[in-house]
């Protein structure tokens, strides 16, 4: 890739006491691209996000953003990034416009530039007629758009989004992405556990247990599975797997109550399975691989997403 990197991370590790949240992460994000980090809860996405947004410094390894070392000069990094958090960061008691004004003042924007930029963004976000409404009165989707306007206000070169579309309906999620895509040349780095949102990425990094499982374009990742995915639901999956292995010479993976086979010719197995084991099979499905299948293929674990956790109060730790 010839495009210069907006973000480069090398050997990034982070632990909360004994618990290792990130393990030796390496990645780079091309300027102007949308890069997604996909992983289930506890995969390390949020910790990675906290480091990239300069909230916590890396414990090991380094991150460079536009050539600036994040640990050495977080203030210079902050000026170049816009951050959208999972939990809302707008002041609900203030109006949409006031939220933007205070944010702009924190970035030292001159008033005229701030007014011009706010008006332009509110236009993009289709929020112009709501600019004097208090953000507490807006729907979740509209409030999220205000957050994105706030993050884009100072014309950052990189926008970081942490599970930003959690809780939004599909239409609000589409609005959010269309607003982001109106910003030309901007690099977007986002974390998500939503498969359809992950597909918005030019490149994706799959995380599990704080480590990178795979990286590539969504298409490349799906090709890792190869062909199609055959799922067989059975009453006794372990016994059935053993018989399939013995009689058909294929090796299905047992995942909970399901058997899975993937590969270029798995569709040929369907009729053989029905002929030989029809009475033992509850359901057979054949589909193109999804990103969830890629995750399963690479980790052997289902991509399960628990409801968002309440932030736990950790014991205060000094660095």
């Amino acid at each position: 890739m010839t495009t210069p990197a907006a973000v480069t991370a090398r050997g990034l590790s982070f632990a909360y006491g004994e618990r290792q949240a990130l393990r030796n992460i390496d990645f780079s994000v091309a300027e102007g691209s949308a890069h997604g980090f996909l992983g289930p809860n506890g995969s390390g996405k949020s910790t990675l996000f906290k480091i990239l947004s300069t909230i916590v410094p890396p414990q090991q390894g380094n991150v460079s953003m536009f050539g600036i070392d994040l640990a050495q000069d977080p203030a210079a990094v902050r000026r170049r990034i816009g951050v959208v958090f999972q939990s809302p960061a707008v002041d609900k008691k203030l109006t949409v416009l006031e939220n933007l004004r205070y944010a702009g003042r924190l970035y030292g924007m001159p008033r005229a530039e701030l007014d011009r930029r706010s008006s332009e963004l509110l236009e993009h976000a289709d929020l112009k007629d709501r600019s004097n409404d208090r953000t507490g009165e807006l729907s979740g989707g509209l409030r999220r758009r205000v957050e994105i306007c706030k993050a884009l206000l100072h014309r950052p070169a990189l926008v970081l989004l942490d599970e930003a579309s959690t809780g939004l309906d599909p239409a609000a999620r589409r609005d959010m992405w269309s607003l982001l895509k109106k910003q030309t040349g901007i690099t977007v780095l986002f974390t998500t556990h939503l498969m359809d949102e992950a597909a918005e990425a030019d490149r994706l990094t799959l995380l599990d247990g704080g480590a990178i499982v795979a990286a590539g374009t969504p298409g490349e990742l799906m090709r890792m599975v190869g062909g199609q995915v055959l799922e067989i639901e059975a009453q006794n999956p372990l016994a059935l797997a053993a018989d399939i292995r013995a009689q058909l010479g294929v090796d299905p993976k047992v995942v909970e109550t399901m058997l899975r086979c993937d590969g270029p010719r798995v569709h040929e197995l369907v009729s053989k399975l029905i002929d030989r084991f029809g009475d033992r099979i509850l359901r057979v499905s054949l589909a193109h691989p999804s990103l969830a299948d890629v995750f399963l293929h690479l980790t052997g674990k289902r991509f399960v997403v628990a409801p968002p956790e309440e932030p736990k109060k950790k014991r205060r730790r000094k660095e």
Binding site: K50, A76, I81, D91, K93, G108, A157, R317
Partner: protein
């Protein structure tokens, strides 16, 4: 993309934006405004109504004695209720947006403290307008001196409130500290009743209470006639100034410590 603006937003620009927000939020909260305006008046009426016949501290009318104490109470209570918003800002997520902005962290403390101090001071000014009704005669000189002292007292207690609120996880915890530490500080300070004839141990403890000096300075500035049982005006003023410097330094220190807690 390079930016023509300096890397860090100047401390005062950011702090003034945050202080302005505090004031706007206060004015939008109708119940908070009503409570802040009426609570001192009601306290003054209740205490004075109940005690004026039976209690004459140093031969002085209790109404005028407690009037000065009420000013200190306004500064303290406003400081408490304005700095408790630090915990709300953290919980509601507003703070995380400030933490990722290119502002010096001390600006967060300065903004909150300036906002809270301005509120406490302004409410004190409004209450001071009632001084003639409460039997506290004011001259321009005494009013100006009183206001200057009031600002310093408000600054010192808001700084203390910020440092406490920053390290607290919950508003309930902060209320606990308020009842355990802040209320006794107010009671020991001589705001409600004189302490010179108190039990020797308590009389000693009050010298460790920084609010004693704030209330003392206010009495020197505003009270008619001699002020007995408290150190000189300069000592009281110095004590209050030292307290303000300490609480402000403590606030900027707690806020500049980066820790994993910020991520929560």
């Amino acid at each position: 993309m390079t930016s023509p603006t300096p890397v860090r937003t100047p401390m005062l620009t950011a702090a003034l934006a945050l202080a302005h927000r505090e004031i706007v939020r206060f004015l939008r909260d109708r119940s908070r405004v009503t409570g802040s305006l009426l609570q001192p008046v009601i306290f003054w009426l209740l205490f004075t109504g109940a005690l004026h016949g039976s209690f004459k501290p140093g031969g002085q009318d209790y109404g005028s004695y407690f009037f000065v104490g009420t000013l200190a109470m306004i500064a303290l209570f406003t400081a408490i209720f304005s700095t408790i918003t630090v915990i709300e800002d953290r919980k509601e997520g507003f703070l995380q947006g400030v933490l990722v902005a290119p502002v010096p962290r001390a600006a967060i403390a300065l903004g909150k403290i300036l906002g809270g101090t301005t509120l406490g001071f302004s409410l004190g000014v409004l209450f001071l307008l009632l001084a003639p009704l409460a039997g506290v005669p004011l001259t321009i000189g005494s009013a100006l001196l009183g206001l200057a002292v009031l600002y310093l007292v408000a600054l010192s207690v808001t700084g203390m409130g910020f440092a406490l609120a920053w390290v607290m996880d919950s508003t309930a915890g902060y209320h606990g500290i308020m009842m355990l530490v802040l209320m006794p500080m107010l009671l020991l300070s001589g705001a409600f009743f004189p302490m010179e004839d108190a039990h020797p141990l308590m009389a000693w403890v009050r010298w460790c209470d920084p609010m004693t000096y704030g209330v003392g300075a206010l009495r020197h500035a505003l009270q008619e006639g001699p002020v007995v049982g408290i150190p000189s005006f300069s000592v009281c003023l110095l004590g209050t100034a030292i307290f303000a410097v300490c609480t402000f330094s403590l606030s900027t220190w707690v806020v500049t410590r980066r820790s994993a807690r910020d991520a929560v």
